[in-house]
């Protein structure tokens, strides 16, 4: 414990004094008039009571979501934007009824009688996410580092009286990507546009994105080149820090030894987070020491001219 404390930066190292100015700089870029005392962003998730013929509207990042409640129908209307880091967060429940736009996706669900409230639960992506460091680097043998990654979240919509969730909408739809040794074999993943960072303060902080700390240990002989990392988000739970409304996942520990990558997950929210509550369970339960082959996967032989 003592050893780790000396080598590893703890929450105190990053704490207020160092962090605050950087946050201000970031806000200057984002907003023309920065406020020194930033109130935590409003809570966009949870239970929202809706009367019949009422509509709730959420603008989370570049995604717009409207949920209508009719006596016998729930109607979900959403549209997606292109900006993964759009700072907009606007909750309007109940809102004025608006006409359906051209780009809107409409889904209707019929019931004999609809019941309030509607619940929005933040969840992580349904496929693994592939992330790159800003510049590829190597980890020497018997070394370990911690990277921070910002993950996009999905909104799970469920209503009272129905066990199964109605639908899931991504706050931002990441691009597809292929992770595997070749074009013959591999796995379909999402590509994270935001690069993995060594310093947590360099991550964009958004109320609809979660931060995942990844500890990577190299137990192999020889260095481990980090070009692409597959993050198995389906095994991760989500935690929300009460004060800042920031989402976190457990700490992910990827240990490379004998050419295999073992996955272990931290217990509860990571130490970087303040007081948190757990908001959603992982989609799948991870087996102990799962081999997930999280590194590499660069296509060297498919780049040629035909």
């Amino acid at each position: 414990m003592g050893l780790i404390d000396q080598n590893q930066p703890t929450i105190d190292d990053y704490d207020r004094s160092e962090l605050e100015p950087e946050v201000d700089v970031e806000q200057v870029v984002l907003e023309p008039e920065p406020e020194p005392e930033v109130a935590p962003p409003p809570r966009w998730w949870g239970d929202f009571p809706l009367e019949e013929y009422q509509v709730g509207r959420w603008q989370v990042g570049s995604m717009t979501l409207s949920i209508y409640r009719l006596p016998r129908e729930w109607r979900i209307i959403y549209s997606q934007g292109n900006d993964p880091l759009d700072p907009t967060l606007d909750i309007d429940v109940p809102a004025e009824v608006e006409a359906i736009g051209i780009d809107d996706n409409v889904r209707r669900y019929m019931f004999s009688q609809t019941q309030s409230p509607v619940t929005l639960t933040p969840v992580l992506a349904d496929r693994p996410l592939v992330v790159r460091p800003a510049i590829p680097f190597a980890i020497e043998t018997r070394e370990e580092i911690t990277l921070y990654v910002s993950l996009p979240m999905w909104l799970r919509i469920s209503v009272a009286g129905v066990q199964q969730p109605l639908y899931e909408v991504p706050s931002f739809r990441p691009s597809d990507t292929w992770f595997g040794d070749s074009t013959l074999q591999g796995e379909l993943c999402y590509a994270a546009r935001a690069p993995a960072q060594l310093n947590i303060s360099e991550l964009p902080k958004r109320p609809y994105r979660a931060i995942a700390p990844i500890l990577i240990r190299n137990r192999d002989e020889g260095s481990l080149v980090l070009d692409r990392i597959k993050i198995p988000v389906e095994y991760l739970a989500l935690y929300n820090s009460k004060e800042t409304n920031q989402f976190w996942t457990q700490k992910i520990i990827l240990e490379q030894s004998n050419g295999r990558t073992k996955l272990r997950l931290g217990w509860g929210s990571p130490q970087e987070a303040d007081k948190t509550e757990r908001v959603s369970a992982p989609r799948e339960r991870a087996r102990r020491g799962l081999d997930i082959g999280a590194f590499g996967g660069i296509f060297r032989n498919t780049r040629g001219l035909d």
Binding site: R173, S175, D176, T177, W178, F179, T183, A191
Partner: protein, 405 residues
Amino acid sequence: MATIQTFLQVLRSFVANVTTFWEVVSARWAQVFSQFVDNTPAVSAFFFDALWRQVSGWQLPDIAWVLFWDTSWQDMSRLWRALEQLWVALFDLLWLSLVALLPDTDNWWRDFLAIIQSEDAPAYITVTVRLIAVYFVLRLIRPLVNRLFARSATPQQRMLLRRGIQVVIIFAFVVSSLEILDIPLEIFFGAAGVLTLAIGFAAQTSVSNLISGLFLIVERAVELGELIEVDGTTGFVTSIGLVSTRMRTFQNLMVRIPNETMVKAKIINYSRLPIRRIDIAIGVAYKEDIKQVEKMLFTLAEDNPLVLEEPQPLFIFKGFGDSSLDVQLSVWTLSANYLSVFNGMQIAIKDTFDENGIEIPFPHITVYTGSETTPFPVGLEQQVLEQWRADAPLESITSVNQDSQ
């Protein structure tokens, strides 16, 4: 002749074995069943009724389908529906007459079974009862195989397994029935001997297809449900028979391809690999900045969530064409998303080029109506034309024309 006789001997011993096996099983079954019936006649009646309802409700692969190897069961369904109704009627008639004939006791089930099992039971009754049993067993195979191997086997493997089991059962039934009915198998083989030559010539194609079919199944070049292209025809594989393979085209046409052709022809399988590359050929005008075009195309690929980030999109400057700079954008996508990416990317490229004023040139056609008439005045707007007319009076034009003549 000697070989035929040896073969017959082997066959006879096989038949004897099958028959003994059958007898042992059915005797055991009768024993268990009669005990059951003894104790609870009402329950057993209910049980049988339920069983029959269940069985008659199944949608069925059919004996006919199995017998006509190459005919998928949709084709046979009309014939089969007729047969099935006939079958139900026959079954009812048989059942009623049997019940009417049986002595009036509580345990008529047992008596009935006893009659069937006894030595002096008429052969045709035994065969009929077995036929009914075989019919039920055959009906059971499809749901049974589908359920047992729902996860562990592909639809293709399930189909093969099902057909294998069905053929074995039918073969065993036919051979044992012939034995019971005292029809000597030699008749068939004798006839076969005479007909072999004729059949051999006539069935050349069929046999070739049959062997090709076996190769096709073993090689697993195509599987049920895959999208393939053979001899210029593209479609989804709906069945792989021993003689031919069937596919459904995009136009919803059923295409039958003989297996011989399948083995000889080049097959393109669009479904086998999970991802594929889409090549989009684009021509831009010579005046355009090719670097800017490249950047624009990459941005478009990045913005489309269905385009894979890795393997990365590829930009190729193909050369200096007749009327345009020819470039190619290659993007990767999931095979299933092919069409939406193919359309989406090209539409997006056209839109973006229009927005940014990048010209996509194309060859123009000027109509020349023959040497006797003057050429069309091409490319002059009304205003310019009038200006031109004002500047150069008509006489001068005609005089020029006259001069040239």
